[in-house]
Amino acid sequence: MRYVMFVCGDGTEPEVDLQAATEAWVAEMDGRGIRKTGDRLRPVADATTVRVRGGEPLVTDGPFAEGTEVIGGFDLLECADLDEALEVAGKHPWAAYGGVELRPVWEWLGA
């Protein structure tokens, strides 16, 4: 099963530098053939949202949902089941600071 993993935080940097630990996580999950792709995202200050209403695009500065939790990165995982995905997500260094959300990919059978 494929899962998109959203790495979430409150928009602030944790006090310790997680760069090395995150790279180690990426190396392990790439090595296990679980992580297919993924990247860190620029902060919400750089986000832009577009909504089309009545055929007219309405462009606004900022994220789609304003909240205290923000998505800081994503990874696409290929796992046997949710238990494996939870083990992988739980090992991500950000899980101990913010949280990691797992969303199953909506698979189109027969496509």
């Binding site: 099963m1 796992c79 046997a80 089941d81 949710l82 238990d83 995905a85 797992l102 199953p104």
Partner: protein, 402 residues
């Protein structure tokens, strides 16, 4: 009066639903479909058994009927051949020994209690899939409307499929944590049936189902001392059920209960189970709570010092304010209310929204002849108490203070 065939269907419903469902869901990998097909099989059983006689192995008959129904529905839905072949290849029951139908209830219960499901969904799904209690019955037990409960069940079933929650007993490295989750759900179920605000009949049924599930779990995991400890705890509490309410439906405190109404055979069974669990040398919160219940079941011979000691041990593995409150009650029995009161009051910040904290404090103040403070504490408890029987009990206490 029910005739013999109706009795046979009712007995199969009670004894076989969980096992039939566990097998079918493992085959079709779709919880909603499995539930429909198992329900259809039970509906078909009555006319078929009237016509052909009650089968020698009703569970096997029902499993095959549900499997066939699932195969037909999948075929009509045009499901891929591989899946159909898998479902169709399940053996027919009659010529085969019973071992050909392995018991999948352990897979089922671990899946129902998966931490990715909401706690209330875990409890409802465990009841629905393992006991065959209907959605309407479960809704009544949890005081929600039937559509609300139906939606809760469907959402959980869909999440199992869509989120990829595996249908299995977890591997060794996850087993301790997940077993604790299963035990928590069963105990929550039991407590719901023991102390919820629904009527006594519904409650007794939910507690009874929790005990039956705990028995099944112990049979499936005989080496897990906490599972045995949980069953012992349930039986040692269940033994006092008949004495908890008087003829008028009023709550009776442990100390005032009619000992003759206690069920000695349940006490004996619970005590034996507890000793068996403790011999394994891996003590845990359920075994300790069972040991406390066993000590209470000794009635007037209860050794309150031993209960304080057991609560101290319990606090080491389960350091919760509610456990500390119970310990304070035991301390009051040993050293008197003046020693216990400060132990209760230091829990104020954690428990002042909890009626038992106010009720315990009120009782200690009453015993210390601090009437005015006791009255306001009883009033606070009365405001927070969830069940009518508890509110009436607290109201009587308040009235006694004048």
């Amino acid at each position: 009066m029910r005739d013999a065939v109706e009795e046979a269907v009712a007995a199969a419903f009670r004894d076989e639903w969980g096992q039939v469902f566990a097998t079918v869901v493992g085959l079709v990998d779709d919880w909603e479909l499995a539930e429909d097909c198992v329900a259809d099989a039970f509906a078909a059983a009555l006319p078929a058994w009237r016509r052909d006689g009650v089968p020698r192995r009703p569970g096997a008959w029902l499993t095959v009927a549900a499997r066939n129904r699932a195969r037909d529905r999948l075929r009509r839905a045009g499901v891929e051949q591989r899946k159909l072949a898998e479902v169709a290849s399940m053996p027919d029951p009659e010529p085969l020994p019973p071992t050909e139908f392995p018991d999948h209830r352990l897979e089922l219960i671990f899946t129902c209690c998966h931490p990715a499901l909401r706690p209330e969904a875990r409890v409802a799904l465990t009841l629905r899939t393992l006991t065959g209690m209907t959605t309407a019955e479960i809704a009544r037990a949890f005081l929600v409307s039937e559509p609300t409960m139906a939606q809760r069940l469907v959402r959980a079933q869909r999440k199992i499929r869509n989120a990829g929650i595996p249908y299995r007993v977890p591997p060794a490295h996850l087993l301790p944590e997940r077993t604790a989750g299963v035990l928590a759900v069963l105990y929550l179920l039991y407590r719901e049936g023991y102390a919820s605000s629904t009527d006594e009949l519904v409650r007794a049924e939910v507690s009874g189902e929790a005990i039956r599930l705990a028995r099944a779990l112990v049979a499936l995991m005989p080496d897990e001392p906490e599972a045995v400890g949980l069953l012992a705890l349930m039986l040692l509490q269940e033994a006092r059920r008949a004495a908890r309410l008087d003829a008028g439906g009023e709550l009776v405190l442990l100390a005032d209960q009619d000992r003759a109404l206690w069920d000695d055979s349940l006490i004996a069974e619970g005590t034996t189970l507890l000793e068996r669990a403790l011999r394994r040398g891996r003590v845990g919160p359920y075994q300790l709570q069972a040991a406390i219940a066993a000590e209470h079941d000794r009635g007037p011979d209860t050794d309150w010092r031993e209960i304080v000691r057991l609560y101290d041990e319990l606090l080491r593995v389960l350091p919760s304010p509610v456990v500390r409150l119970h310990r304070a009650v035991a301390v009051a029995a040993v050293d008197g209310p003046a020693v216990a009161l400060p132990l209760v009051e230091e829990l104020a910040a954690a428990l002042d929204r909890h009626h038992l904290w106010h009720a315990t404090r009120a009782d200690l103040l009453r015993r210390l002849d601090r009437g005015a403070e006791a009255r306001s504490a009883y009033a606070a408890a009365l405001d927070l108490a969830p069940s009518a029987a508890e509110r009436r009990f607290l109201g009587r206490r308040l009235a006694c203070l004048g």
